[in-house]
Amino acid sequence: MSRNQFFVRGLRDSVPMLVGIAPFGIIFGTLAGVGGLTLWQAVGMSMFVYAGSAQFIVISLMSAGAGALVILLTTFIVNLRHVLYSATLQPQVQGMPQRWRLLLAFWLTDETFAIVQRHYLVHGRTPLAHWYWLGVASSLYACWVSSSLVACCLVRRFPTWRVGDLSSRCWQLSSVSSCPCCATSRRSPPRWSRARLPC
């Protein structure tokens, strides 16, 4: 298989995860959009932090007026599991150029880890396997950032649609089977979203 074929196979294998990620990106975008963050801060969090469960928790911490130290320490604890992912995939990055390691590390989420680790278990390490990894990781990243952006823009452009209500409702209902990374933080909807609930 060529680079392109590996890359496309990665894109293809990421599709099932998109079904689970997009709804949570939309929920994040609307919750962050109606809170104290500007549009670009909300989307910037998805672009630069790129860690669903930490983002959800931090949004509710910010709305509760938590201090910077609490927010950064929480991020540290919630994301500590990534060290294990990093260690598990470390044998596969041997001999990889620095820029590849930086990029793939930045994109190392629960979902990327689950798909890529399975690929290495089933197929072993092949010379072009990092193109598969790149396909998976870029697709999931694009999905998370774009769903956050679209939802954030919509909730700001059309506040009367009460998308925020719908989202916080979904947030309360959200299922463990849909997005394991967010399940841990599911029970703390931000204060402003609760206040907007009709019931």
Binding site: V15, P16, M17, V19, G20, G36, L37, Q41, G44, M45, F48, V49, Y50, A51, A54, V58, M62, A68, I71, L72, T75, F76, N79, L80, R81, H82, V83, L84, Y85, S86, A87, T88, L89, Q90, P91, V93, Q94, G95, M96, R101, L102, L104, A105, F106, D110, F113, A114, Q117, R118, L173, S175, V176, S177, S178, P180, C181, A183, T184, R186, R187
Partner: protein
């Protein structure tokens, strides 16, 4: 402005943890550690999913038949075991969850 500093701080912390062991690509773990790392996917994903099924509010055990998180979770495991398909598991799990929720009047 403060929010931007917080976001950059979160980004730095998260990235450093993800990059932590990629920074030494030639490091070799001893066999015991390598053996242990085999269990990371099972261990971490179980730790994320199981509390969400058994303690949906994060504090109280709910081992009852009206716990939709538990029922839909068990169904998802069943779908995964039979279909061996990620898409069927995620899609089916979501569908079962919302159908049960609707059927039990918990929407």
């Amino acid at each position: 402005m403060t929010y931007w500093w917080l976001i950059l701080g979160m980004a730095a912390i998260t990235f450093l943890m993800r990059y932590s062991l990629f920074a030494w690509p030639n490091l070799r773990f001893p066999p015991v550690v390598r053996q242990g790392l085999h269990y990371v996917p099972t261990a971490v994903l179980t730790a994320i999913v199981v509390p969400g099924m058994l303690l949906p509010d994060g504090a109280h055990w709910r081992l009852s038949l009206d716990n939709v998180y538990l029922l839909a979770g068990v169904m998802s495991i069943g779908i995964a075991a039979i279909s061996r398909s990620l898409l069927a598991t995620i899609g089916g799990g979501l569908l079962v969850f919302f159908l049960l929720r609707w059927a039990m009047g918990q929407m």
